[in-house]
């Protein structure tokens, strides 16, 4: 209040400059030209949002597209965590991108808010892995062009455990026999990690939502009742036995496995970069409750904005330039996730590690993409963590969680 006016003005001037810089800071250096060249609509630049792991691969496909169509593709680098909320907020204002990279489980929220346009794959849809197209399908319409499939599996350090365990108890026994500090590593954290714990939950027969006959999910919670209680009690037992701990975060788990402190870790292909030098085998996740342990399958893909002024270019780019072996394999090499295009997936599966993840993924279930899924995460993980740490009674806490999720879904 008492600062002199020039100082205030200077600070605000600086803030304005910074704001102007940060506005363009996320963009590529050429972004400034779009401010002057863009404007009136029509065939302006095609704007694509990507995160850093897919930037190079998309730019490569874009340069081929630019040559053929004589347009400019502006590849904008964004944090993957920011894309969902930014896309939802910016598309209605007309400032959003034409295409964005995204995960299939955003679909329900994106369609509910009317920010994505359907993509007609036509005869090309047969070229993709079936689960990938299904994941991007809602109510009979395809809304995204899939490029990668990802799921978790049991990563085994073959030097410490020569054979793949069939059940959870075998895995724990093998881990204890190996004499390492941890029998099995699962990232948990004080807020839990329901995504990584999901295969263990499904092995008790407690899927998150009921599935319709065609494989789509109905917004009807299915994780309550007897199977859910059994899983909750199992969690408590693991916590009491000291097998699983809430103190093990992602970083701690990855670091420990890297240092040979456990023969097993449940995780995805994104961890592999850190495990270089270890002799690994990718195995199915051992069942804890007797039924098959099915992890979630996540499909990565590209969405087209509902307010895009370049809808034609955007669709052309995706269907004819991203759905190609070269582009899909380039994306695979950048992120290690098996491609969604069948022919590219076959090439990638020459690598035994990728083939291992793909084999586990074949029996997995797609992560629900219905909007109700958004209400689940906040309660799910913390409840699991509290049961593990002994802070909550398993059955009561599980029942309360189910009731709370119902409440959040209803509001």
């Amino acid at each position: 209040m008492r600062r002199s006016i020039p100082a205030v003005a200077a600070t605000l001037g600086l803030a304005l400059t910074l704001a102007a810089c940060s506005g363009g800071g996320a963009d590529t250096p050429e972004a400034t030209t779009s401010a002057t060249a863009g404007g009136g609509g029509g065939s302006g630049d095609l704007v694509v949002w990507v995160d850093e792991t897919r930037q190079a691969a998309v730019e490569e496909a874009a340069s081929a597209f630019e040559e053929e169509n004589d347009v400019r593709v502006e590849v904008v680098l964004k944090n993957f965590e920011d894309i969902r909320a930014d896309f939802l907020a910016q598309v209605p204002t007309g400032e959003g991108p034409d295409i964005t990279v995204g995960a299939h489980d955003w679909l329900g929220e994106l369609t509910q808010n009317g920010v994505v346009a359907p993509i007609e794959l036509g005869d090309r849809s047969g070229d993709f892995e079936q689960v990938a197209v299904e994941a991007f399908t809602q109510d009979g319409q395809v809304y995204g062009l899939p490029y990668a499939i990802e799921n978790i599996a049991l990563i085994r350090n073959t030097a410490l455990a020569p054979a793949a365990p069939a059940t959870w108890d075998e895995a724990v026994a093998a881990g204890q026999a190996a004499g390492t500090p941890y029998p099995v590593l699962i990232q948990t954290g004080t807020e839990g990690d329901p995504y990584t714990y999901y295969p263990l939950q499904t092995s008790f027969g407690a899927p998150v939502f009921a599935q319709n006959e065609d494989g789509s999910y109905s917004p009807e919670l299915a994780m309550g009742g007897e199977p859910g209680h059994a899983f909750a009690q199992w969690l408590q037992a693991q916590g009491q036995a000291g097998v699983l701990k809430t103190d093990v975060t992602y970083d701690i788990a990855v670091e420990a496995f890297k240092n040979g402190e456990s023969p097993f870790i449940i995780g995805g292909p994104w961890m592999l970069e850190q495990f270089e030098g270890l002799d690994l085998s990718i195995d199915p996740i051992p069942s804890a409750g007797g039924q098959p342990a099915q992890p979630f399958v996540g499909v990565q893909g590209f969405y087209v904005s509902a307010q895009s002024e370049n809808a034609l270019l955007a669709n052309d780019f995706l269907v004819n330039f991203i759905a190609t072996d070269e582009a899909q394999l380039a994306l695979y090499e950048a992120g290690n996730r098996p491609p969604a295009l069948t022919s590219a997936a076959e090439t990638a599966s020459e690598d035994p590690i990728t083939a291992g993840f793909a084999a586990v993924g074949a029996d997995a279930v797609p992560m629900p993409s219905i909007p109700e899924m958004g209400s689940v995460w906040a309660f799910w993980g913390v409840t699991e963590a509290n049961i593990l740490s002994g802070a909550a009674e398993p059955v009561a806490a599980w029942d309360k969680m189910v009731a709370d999720i119902q409440g959040a879904m209803g509001s």
Binding site: I5, A9, G13, G42, I119, E120, G140, L312, G374
Partner: protein, 546 residues
């Protein structure tokens, strides 16, 4: 604008000598030219105003191009105001405050007003945009490809000024149609490898022309036959076409949506959905004003009301205790290091400022690692392998938050107290000594009151800062541990602003509700503004007494 105001100060200062050491204010006679100081000052002012005007006109034209009429109006108003203020002779005070006022309007008032507006809407998941967008999205989402229909290679053409498609059908015949005329066979068309290369009486569009008119091309629907039941051809890439039908139709006059297959009519409801008579609603909604609903949810909804009061109480406790503890520790250290008998004071002082030099979010993140129950430095090394649940026990987590904030905040208080102590007038101290006051008495009755006069405004701002200290909570505990008895994802160390963040759903763990989050922000704003106003008023009285 910043340089302009600085320069303007110097150019007007000559005619308006307020600064100490200059002769008393000379009254300008109304006739003298305004910038009577120097010719250089006048030239500089003209140049700067030319720059400001050029920038303003550019912004106005840009806004016109983008059809952002709100920004356009605001820019015109600002530019006119700026020219009036700096070229008129009667607006001396405004010359000083205009740049600040302009930025205040843009960065503060606009943001507050926008938040206020959102607080009275249902902006959030399902109500993300306008009604037009919702209708558009619903129509697009419910336009389906006819099951089992073929894929047609298409070519875009223009016939009699209307866009149309040339389609090669299953038998290899070319059929042409526009939006008005259904597809019909044409004679004399030439084909090359399955694509149409010429159609008599029509001009084929090349790729560039197609791209220029892509909006028209993607929205073009060419009826497949005379029977509307057969659907129409559309394309998304101008290379292949698909036959599709709409299951939903919008009646613009009645403003209703009709499901063509079942005949159900959906009409718009007050809360921003299309609803059928039996209560079924369509997937996409739009933003509408909902009055005080969000406020009544914050205070009245049983799921939010309980946690809200607990969090409100903890926010006050956290903000007050943070200010008190950091101030007391900072003051104690400042007094200690103000003693000239202490050797190496400079080194100690530099070391003490160290926590202040580390970015707050980084420090909070480091502390959350150090306080990890099994692997943290504090338990493992300092406490010799103890098992203290620093961040997972409700009360210990609160203590941890306060201690980390103390560590982060005391250097600031130490700095301002040191500054205030060193600027205390020596004569007052001497007078106290002469009057025979002891050390304690001097400190109680002279030093502390004088110190408080200097630091109270800073303590109030520190309170306001800590009241909204989102970074610390988010990085250290993320609000946890969770309330065991609440049905919303909120925790024991959540303060109001972190509650706003989780309610808004930006982190993806809950459905978005910007309306409720904005309403809570308004409540926070009201609380902080009221407290600041009251305390500033009391400080004024305090100052008058001393």
């Amino acid at each position: 604008m910043s340089t302009q105001s600085t320069l303007d100060d110097t150019s007007t200062a000559a005619g308006d000598g307020d600064a100490p050491g200059r002769p008393r204010r000379r009254r300008r006679s109304p006739g003298t030219p305004h910038a009577s100081g120097t010719v250089g000052g006048l030239v500089a002012k003209l140049v700067l105003m030319a720059v400001v005007n050029a920038f303003g006109v550019f912004a106005i034209l840009a806004a016109w191009n983008e059809e952002s009429y709100g920004i356009l109006a605001a820019m015109v108003a600002l530019l006119v105001a700026a020219d009036w203020v700096y070229f008129s002779r009667r607006t001396l005070p405004l010359k000083y405050v205009l740049p600040g006022l302009a930025f205040l309007l843009v960065f503060q008032v606009y943001v507050v007003a926008y938040t206020g507006w959102v607080a009275f809407t249902n902006y959030g998941d399902g109500h993300n945009s306008t009604k037009e967008h919702a209708i558009e999205a619903l129509l697009v989402q419910n336009e389906r490809r006819v099951e089992g229909s073929a894929t047609y290679p298409i070519t875009v053409l223009e016939r009699d000024g209307e866009l149309g498609f040339a389609v090669v059908d299953e038998d290899g015949d070319v059929r042409v149609g526009t939006a008005e005329e259904p597809l019909a066979p044409v004679d004399g068309a030439t084909l090359d490898g399955g694509t149409v290369t010429a159609v008599p009486g029509a001009e084929l569009l090349d790729r560039r022309q197609v791209l220029e008119r892509q909006d028209e091309v993607t929205t073009l629907r060419v009826p497949f036959s005379d029977d509307p039941e057969d659907g129409s051809i559309r394309t998304q890439d101008a290379r292949t076409g698909y036959v599709s039908t709409s299951t939903l139709e919008h009646d613009a006059e009645a403003d209703t949506m009709t499901d063509v297959t079942t005949g159900t009519v959906y009409s718009p409801s007050d809360d921003g959905w299309f609803v059928s008579p039996d209560g079924e609603r369509l997937n996409v909604g739009w933003r509408v004003a909902v009055g005080f609903d969000n406020f009544s949810t914050a205070f009245g909804d049983s799921r939010y009301a309980g946690p809200f009061l607990k969090i409100l109480a903890w926010t006050f406790a956290f903000a007050i205790l943070s200010v008190v503890t950091t101030f007391l520790l900072g003051l104690f250290l400042a007094i200690t290091f103000n003693d000239t008998r202490l050797g190496g004071r400079r080194i100690y002082r530099t070391l003490l400022i160290f926590p202040y030099a580390i970015p707050g979010f980084l420090a909070a993140l480091l502390w959350s690692g150090m306080l990890n129950r099994s692997y943290g430095f504090v338990n493992q090394v300092l406490l010799g392998g103890a098992d203290v649940p620093w961040l997972t026990d409700p009360w210990l987590a609160k203590l941890s938050v306060l201690l980390v904030n103390l560590w982060l905040g005391f250097p600031y208080m130490f700095l301002i107290c040191t500054g205030a102590l060193q600027s205390l007038p020596g004569d007052v101290m001497e007078a106290a000594k002469v009057d025979g006051a002891g050390r304690w008495r001097t400190w109680r009755s002279v030093t502390l009151p004088l110190l408080l006069v200097a630091t109270t405004p800073l303590l109030i701002s520190s309170f306001a800062f800590n009241f909204n200290n989102f970074t610390l909570i988010y990085m250290l505990t993320n609000g946890g541990p969770r309330f065991a008895d609440a049905s919303v994802p909120l925790g024991h160390t959540d303060i109001l602003i972190s509650m706003v963040y989780s309610v808004s759903g930006l982190d993806g763990t809950a459905a978005k509700n910007y309306g409720l989050a904005s309403a809570l922000s308004i409540v926070i704003f009201a609380i902080v503004a009221t407290i600041s106003a009251i305390t500033f008023k009391r400080t004024k009285q305090f100052e008058e007494i001393s």
